[in-house]
Amino acid sequence: MPFALTPERERELAEILTRYPTKMAACIPALHLCQDQHGYIDDDVVTWVSHRLDLPPAHVKGVVTFYTLFNQHKVGKHQLWVCRTLPCALRGAGEMLDYCEKKLGIKAGETTPDGKITLRTAECLASCGTAPMMQVDKDYYENLTPADVDAILERLQRS
């Protein structure tokens, strides 16, 4: 079945469109809504957004490929981003990433075989004063110790 937003998300998009003088400005918010629903942005989604906002598909595709947060392929149920940039690295982010890789049995950029967790590195997440940190889906976890990471990973694996 071709992609379409759920009625609830479609209402949200209609409200978003009222904020801007052009339809194009809703491109990124619309793609976020689509990704929330679909998990990633494939060509069906690109086609839908381009029709909905009267944009050339190439424009929408260009936007999707520019921004790090748009998944172009299927990803795990949970997204785990470990900040690797200098301020976090100074507080042990390198070791924390190794720890996550070992515990999950995957490398950064990969998804666990059960499809539950995608582990990735992130560039600075504006949480340098509470390093090391990671983002799990929409939440920040800061000042992390090995025990904290154990608890996070166990919760995700059980979910």
Binding site: R19, Y20, P21, T22, M24, A25, A26, C27, I28, P29, L31, H32, L53, L55, H59, G62, V63, F66, Y67, T68, L69, F70, W81, R84, T85, L86, P87, A89, L90, R91, G92, G94, E95, M96, Y99, A122, E123, C124, L125, A126, S127, C128, G129, T130, A131, P132, Q135, K138, D139, Y140, L144, T145, P146, A147
Partner: protein, 457 residues
């Protein structure tokens, strides 16, 4: 000079500190916007704002009031206020605290800013990762609207103002103002050539002012105190660098965090008095003063400013740690104040590993539009990787200069400088350590960034 204040941060620790009720009760909430909209003309607001000497808090340090004065009414086009809250410069963690803990100051600042520049709509561009920040800002907008502070007649004045939150999708470059505008318009976040400057053709081709989030959040305080009084809180008020601001400190300090102080604080005060000194009481190795694009300073660096006309002359011969953190003072020291959030490194930290870490960041975040930056950032990273692998020759190390200089000044936006300056800074300050890698005296596997084991310090 260390003078802690709590104009912006008074509500930070309070229960429900981010709500309108707390903001009005504890922080003179919306009194400034009410006064401005009901008693002042937009021209008066701009003139008054200039006296506050608020230097842009996003890194460039441009005077906010002067920027506002560039806005001219257009016969047919509306004007826009766009707030840059795409905080992503490594080492910078201040705007997020304002959005999460004092969102009403941001909204009130937007109301005053819109009125001053003739705009009826403000877009706050927040990076997508900051979900709590977005929720708190939307919550503040809703509360302000319900009270009649936003909307068709704010404070009964016939001057409609709307504030919206817009989100990016994970691109550091969108913190560059013209790239941010493209992203706001629903395009790839590639920077635009200037001119035209945003004040002539910004968002949607209309006159636009882009202010950093902390800049706009400081506006209500400035108008509550009186802009000149606000400016005088700074000990370098005479250098047109006024008021209070948020100072961040992170890395190898005991108490990392964000602290509000009068402008004029020194790095020594930030690191030792506020940051609590270094982990394990180690000696200071180096400090990046204001986000990763600002060239690194060594602990032993001293100010060289024999010229009496230099704004730094008063500190000639003194440690760089004792110079007030100001836009002009730090620019004259061969670095930049940037975002005023310092990253601190203790002795034993490997500067080449720091350089390697940062070059990964710039390689990842170059938008790819300009060849010198796209190729140059990759080249710098390859040299860094070879250094860490022990396969870099002296000739290749010497090309680092040429590659970095090839980026400088040859790109559309300042990201190029932001990449080249820290690269050149690290090479200049730590040439010996770089050469030690080439000679095989140091090895990547021994390089340390953290102090002690993770979770132990």
């Amino acid at each position: 000079m260390l003078k802690q204040t709590n104009y912006l941060t008074k509500v930070y620790g309070l229960p429900e500190g981010w709500t309108l009720a707390t903001y009005e009760r504890e922080a003179r909430g919306y009194q400034a916007a009410r006064k401005v909209l009901t008693t002042m003309s937009p021209a008066d607001v701009v003139n008054e704002a200039k006296k506050a000497n608020i230097r842009g808090r996003g890194g460039a340090g441009f005077p906010m009031g002067v920027k506002w004065s560039f806005m001219r009414p257009h016969p047919t086009k509306p004007a826009y206020l766009v707030i840059n809250a795409d905080e992503g410069e490594p080492g910078t963690h201040k705007d997020r605290t304002l959005m999460e803990l004092n969102p009403h100051a941001c909204v009130e600042g937007c109301i005053i800013g819109c009125y001053a520049i003739g705009a009826h709509a403000a877009y706050i561009y927040v990076r997508d990762e900051l979900h709590l920040s977005k929720a708190r800002l939307w919550g503040a907008i809703k509360e302000a609207k319900a009270k009649g502070y936003l909307g068709k007649n704010p404070f009964g004045k016939d001057y409609p103002v709307e504030v919206y939150v817009h989100t990016g999708a994970g691109a550091y470059i969108c913190g560059e103002e013209t790239s941010l505008l493209n992203s706001l318009e629903g395009k790839r976040g590639e920077p635009r050539l200037k001119p035209p400057f945003p004040a002539q053709a910004g968002a949607f081709g209309c006159p636009t002012t882009v202010n950093n989030l902390e800049t706009i959040a400081a506006v209500p305080t400035a108008f509550n105190l009186g802009c000149e009084e606000f400016s005088k809180l700074s000990s370098i008020h005479h250098l047109n660098d006024g008021g209070v601001r948020l100072f961040g400190v992170n890395g190898h300090v005991k108490k990392p965090g964000v602290y509000e102080c009068c402008v004029g604080l020194t790095l020594r005060e930030l690191i030792y008095d506020l940051g609590g000194g270094l982990l394990d009481d180690k000696a200071l190795h180096s400090v990046i003063p204001g986000g990763s694009s600002t060239p690194v300073l060594r602990a032993e660096d001293v100010v060289h400013a024999p010229d009496e006309k230099s704004p730094l002359h008063a500190w000639h011969g003194k440690s760089v740690l004792d110079v007030p953190l100001g836009v002009d003072t730090f620019r004259n020291m061969g670095t930049m104040l940037g975002t005023c959030c310092a990253t601190v490194m203790a002795e034993g930290t490997d500067p080449v590993a720091c350089f390697h870490n940062l070059m990964q960041f710039y390689r990842h975040e170059s938008c790819g539009q300009c060849t010198p930056c796209r190729e140059g950032s990759g080249w710098l990273l390859r040299i860094a990787e070879k250094l860490m692998d022990g396969t870099c020759s002296m000739d290749e190390l010497n090309t680092l200069h040429d590659v970095a200089n090839g980026i400088m000044g040859n790109t559309i936006c300042a990201f190029g400088e932001g990449t080249a300056m820290p690269a050149l800074g690290y090479l200049k300050k730590f040439r010996k350590e770089f050469e030690a890698y080439v000679k095989g005296e140091r090895k990547g596997k021994d390089a340390r960034l953290a102090v002690g084991a993770w979770g132990q310090s």
